[in-house]
Amino acid sequence: MSVASLCGPTCDAPLFVHVLGATLLFGALLTVTTLGFASVRIVQHGPMLRRLAFTTMLAVVWPSYILMRVGAQWVLSHEGLDKNTPGWVGVGFLVSDVGIVVLLVLTLLGWLGLRRPRVGTWFTGLAGIYLVALGVAVFAMSAKP
């Protein structure tokens, strides 16, 4: 069963908002992970890279997350899945709702990292872990095991 088969012809807009938000979120997290890793490795450009990672958190990660989450709720209520939630939707909920806490911590670490370079390692590690969690959510959402 595919997402398209769950969502009828009228589900296109909610699904588009959800998928667009999720792909942008994946890319935004890949960006901050890359910048965080580089800031740890290339010390002389560390301040610039950490500032850029923090800016990306605020300007790209959070808007993408909101787009993804709003789209997910829209699909859910549109298809009546909020009344009878399948397991794979639960995985998506887990990753997205725990994601709020992770993104808040990441934002805090990103801000702290502007002054304390050592925080950059935690920032990069957490961003990498959440990137993997998003991969798990992609598997659950698309393969629906």
């Binding site: 069963m1 699904l15 588009f16 792909t23 890319g27 790209v60």
Partner: protein, 159 residues
């Protein structure tokens, strides 16, 4: 899980890598545009290699499993469907434009590295190369084509 579910997962993973990699490349390019020091510009353009790896993986997964999905789909899709043909044309365009834009940008990165080694002072030539309208048009139109492909994949007009 059926074979169709696996194919869909691999195809969607490819889409995430392709769009995600494009987002990373766009953020790093836009950040480089706002910089003056050649060493910073060279670093940011060099980091786009991570994005390029994701894009390559995405390009491969989307086309291989996308074509396979059309064949394996239980919904009666065919290779002659307008939305499939349009997506393929846009996929080819996106790769060609992105590849050409990326090649031109790599030359800009090499210039930035040379300038960084020779004093790391801001350069008008580098600034001009970063804002080259042809390179920017190739890269932005490649990203736009990917976005239109996503629209086609969701709406499947005519299916």
């Amino acid at each position: 899980m059926s074979r169709y579910d696996w194919l869909l997962f691999l195809h969607v993973t490819g889409a995430f890598l392709l769009i995600g990699g494009s987002v990373t490349a766009a953020v790093l390019n836009l950040s480089a545009l706002r910089r003056e020091r050649p060493s910073e510009i060279a670093l940011l353009l060099g980091l786009t290699r991570v994005a390029v790896f994701a894009i390559y993986g995405g390009v491969l997964l989307t086309i291989v499993f996308g074509l396979w999905l059309v064949n394996a789909s239980p919904f009666g899709y065919g290779y002659g469907d307008a939305w499939v043909i349009a997506a393929l044309v846009l996929w080819v365009y996106s790769n060609a434009a992105g590849g050409m834009g990326g090649k031109r940008e790599d030359e800009t990165r090499k210039l930035a590295e040379r300038l960084a080694a020779a004093g790391d002072t801001p350069s008008a030539e580098l600034r001009s190369r970063l804002r080259d309208p042809v390179t920017l048009a190739l890269e932005y139109s490649s990203g736009l084509a990917i976005l239109v492909i996503l629209v086609l994949m969701i709406w499947k007009p005519g299916a």
